[in-house]
């Protein structure tokens, strides 16, 4: 099976969706001739032409608004916003139109579109080039929020997002873009949006994470299992919204302990939502308070200290040990 980076896997998904469905168009800043800042759309212009692969002006609000217009007519635009920090320019169109069109038109104009955007730290960038604001979108009714963690699920989930009848915010962990290769088959592959994946089964404690945080989580898990003899269960959320409450509840019902890891700021972060759900449906099975290891409530810091800001294997191990040691 061919080995692909996440960038190549995403490119494959776009390519195959475009080949299959002439309603699929991609658009964004420097995505056509240059193939995008991260080269996710490389080669698509040559294959599908400038009517379907469009360089847009530097105007995010216009890009998303135009994509909404295309989508409510029946096209399937996949709009790239160069960095997730620049989605703020488009907040108006995302929140007011993209998220609400099906509802506002009382289902007369459903809206199937994808906003792809790289998010997260770990590449020595600055504030608006490193942040994780998935909470904004998860908080917005009408949107789906999908975050892959590796090349294979990225490809399958992007296909699923393009096929989805509702608008999807597709957050790409840029720290993973070229970090490693994985088997990604040539044949089209898809995954169900809204399903979390139990990546490793265990009995003692559940770690829940997503996106770029999956790598340090798995690294920490290896250590915890091999050096500390703990039996850790690991869940990759994959879809922030809809959230697979059932898989989370089943896992924590079994293990009784849980650590949640994300790089976005703490207050009103995704961990807070997960804790609320587990509190509602797994409370009586808890052996220890659920711990969250998150980014701080600050603007994403500059490069020399970003490793301090981001959760890493060491801090995850620490959080797990503390939770395991909890004694009521």
């Amino acid at each position: 099976m061919p080995q692909r980076t996440m960038v190549e896997a995403l490119n494959l998904a776009l390519d195959q969706s475009m080949a299959n469905d002439e309603n699929v168009c991609v658009m964004g800043e420097d995505i056509a001739i240059n193939g995008g800042v991260f080269r996710v759309t490389k080669g698509l212009l040559e294959k599908y032409g400038s009517n379907r692969v469009m360089d847009t002006p530097l105007a995010e609000c216009g890009i998303i608004g135009t994509a909404v217009g295309m989508a409510i007519y029946g096209l399937k635009p996949v709009a790239e916003i160069q960095f997730s920090g620049f989605t703020m320019q488009a907040f108006d169109q995302i929140e007011q139109n993209m998220a609400r069109y099906r509802s506002r038109s009382r289902d007369r104009y459903p809206i199937s579109m994808v906003m792809r955007t790289p998010y997260g730290g770990g590449i020595r960038a600055v504030e608006h080039h490193s942040e994780s604001r998935e909470s904004y979108w998860a908080h917005t009714p009408g949107l789906k929020v999908v975050i892959p963690s590796g090349p294979r699920n990225a490809r399958a989930l992007l296909k699923a997002s393009i096929d989805d009848p509702d608008p999807v915010v597709f957050y790409e962990p840029k720290a993973v873009y070229r970090a490693f290769r994985e088997d990604v088959p040539d044949e089209p592959e898809t995954m169900e949006i809204g399903k979390a994946q139990v990546v490793r089964e265990g009995a003692d404690l559940t770690i829940i994470a997503y996106g770029a945080m999956m790598r340090p989580v798995l690294e920490a898990t290896d250590d915890l299992v091999e050096l500390h003899g703990m039996d850790i269960e690991v869940i990759d959320l994959l879809s922030i919204k809809p959230m697979d409450t059932q898989t989370l509840v089943e896992s924590v019902t079994k293990t009784g302990r849980c650590v949640i890891v994300h790089e976005g700021p703490r207050t009103c972060g995704i961990a807070a939502e997960i804790i609320a759900r587990l509190n509602e449906d797994a409370f009586e099975h808890l052996i220890a308070p659920i711990k969250r290891l998150t980014g701080y409530d600050i603007h994403f810091p500059f490069f020399q200290v970003e490793q301090h800001y981001l959760p890493d294997a060491d801090s995850i191990i620490e959080a797990v040990k503390e939770t395991m040691a909890f004694d009521a």
Binding site: V37, D55, P57, F86, Q89, A125, H129, I298, F302
Partner: protein, 362 residues
């Protein structure tokens, strides 16, 4: 005006002409431009040596714009710009050591080493910073102009006598915030000048592909009823003279204006840009139009600057930047607790529960 890429060695003192800015002033501008160029060259080296993180956008080729515009201002006129901001801060008078320390992420930097290339702030010189979000600084220019006018007229009971320069790139012409800012400035009669540093490209997008009426962007300002000017930005004397007229009128009438400042960035958009979107020929042609060479030639050919004097000046500038770099490297990396500082008015913010910074618990 024809120029060679290297300054002419023989001064033609016979043809000394005394028109325009004084020779001393021109020498100062030459020095200022050399300083910016040297700062950028060292910055690029340090970036390649991985001493600088984040993104880095250098100003090489555009030096005449910052220097000529600054010369047309009073020292207390506010300036605000985008992320290609090193030149504006240096032209405004910021000591390069604070800039270099910022690039290196050191506490001595102009943003405490916590911002980097896009965050050159200098309160003493009324420089309201660089801004990483394209276009987002343009309404700030309108707001600054409102504030100075308010202070001059309402608080001090006098007449508005300051002007704000709000710089933007040609790519920012496409952002909604820019258009909202222009309309607001027009409706409220604000003394702000939107200076578009039109280097022809927004990353890989040529202006003709990304902007309607890209061949005449003053048409945008016309739509808002502004005066505008097209200024040759590769020649510091033209920048100064053109801007002086616009600034003086803005100061006098308190009406906004727009400038299409024609310039060119000699390097890539950022440090990793293969520049496939433009031709080598185009780059070579603009290299012939180097603003530093142009002024050096003018000074040598018509103003009696000797080759020796030029060399001494270039050497001094190199030394100044070398020392700035040393100073920057000696400045400490910010403490971890600096992460939490400057987010809120309280030293460590209004945090509680497990949001409380861990370093405060130790």
């Amino acid at each position: 005006m024809t120029t060679s890429s290297k300054p002419d060695i023989t001064p033609q003192s016979a043809s000394l002409k005394a028109k325009g800015p004084s020779t001393d002033l021109l020498k100062q501008w030459l020095r200022d431009m050399l300083l910016i160029r040297e700062f950028e060259v060292r910055t690029m080296q340090a970036y390649q040596n991985k001493k600088i993180g984040g993104f880095c956008h250098v100003y090489i080729g555009q030096e005449a714009v910052a220097v000529g515009c600054t010369a047309a201002l009073e020292p207390n006129d506010p300036v605000v710009t985008a992320y290609r901001d090193h030149g504006h801060a240096l032209a405004r008078g910021m000591d390069p050591k604070y800039g270099m320390a910022e690039m290196f992420g050191r506490i001595g930097g102009c943003a405490k080493g916590k911002g980097g290339s896009m965050h050159f702030f200098d309160k003493e010189h009324h420089m309201y910073g660089g801004h990483g979000i394209v276009g987002a600084q343009t309404p700030l220019g309108a707001g600054l102009a409102f504030a100075t006018k308010y202070e001059d007229e309402i608080i001090n009971g006098g007449v508005s006598n300051r002007v704000t320069l709000s710089f933007l790139g040609d790519g920012a012409l496409n952002q909604g915030s820019f258009h909202e800012a222009q309309n607001l400035a027009g409706v409220l009669d604000l003394p702000v000048i939107f200076v578009c540093e039109n280097n022809g490209y927004s990353m890989g997008t040529a202006i003709s592909r990304g902007t309607t009426m890209g061949h005449d962007i003053t048409s945008k300002a016309a739509g808002y009823g502004f005066d505008s000017a097209v200024i040759e930005g590769m020649d510091v004397i033209e920048v100064y003279e053109g801007m002086k007229a616009v600034v003086d009128k803005c100061r006098e009438t308190s009406r906004p204006a727009f400038v299409d400042m024609r310039t060119y960035r000699f390097k890539g958009h950022s440090m990793s840009d293969p520049r496939k979107y433009r031709t080598k020929e185009e780059e070579q042609q603009y290299a012939q139009d180097d603003p530093i060479d142009k002024l050096a030639n003018e000074l040598m050919n018509n103003r009696g600057l000797s080759r020796d004097e030029y060399d001494v000046m270039a050497k001094e500038v190199k030394k100044q930047i070398r020392e700035a770099t040393k100073w920057a490297e000696a400045s400490p990396i910010p403490d971890i607790e600096e992460l939490y500082r400057d987010v809120y008015v309280e030293k460590f913010g209004p945090y509680s529960g497990t949001s409380l910074p861990a370093m405060l618990e130790d």
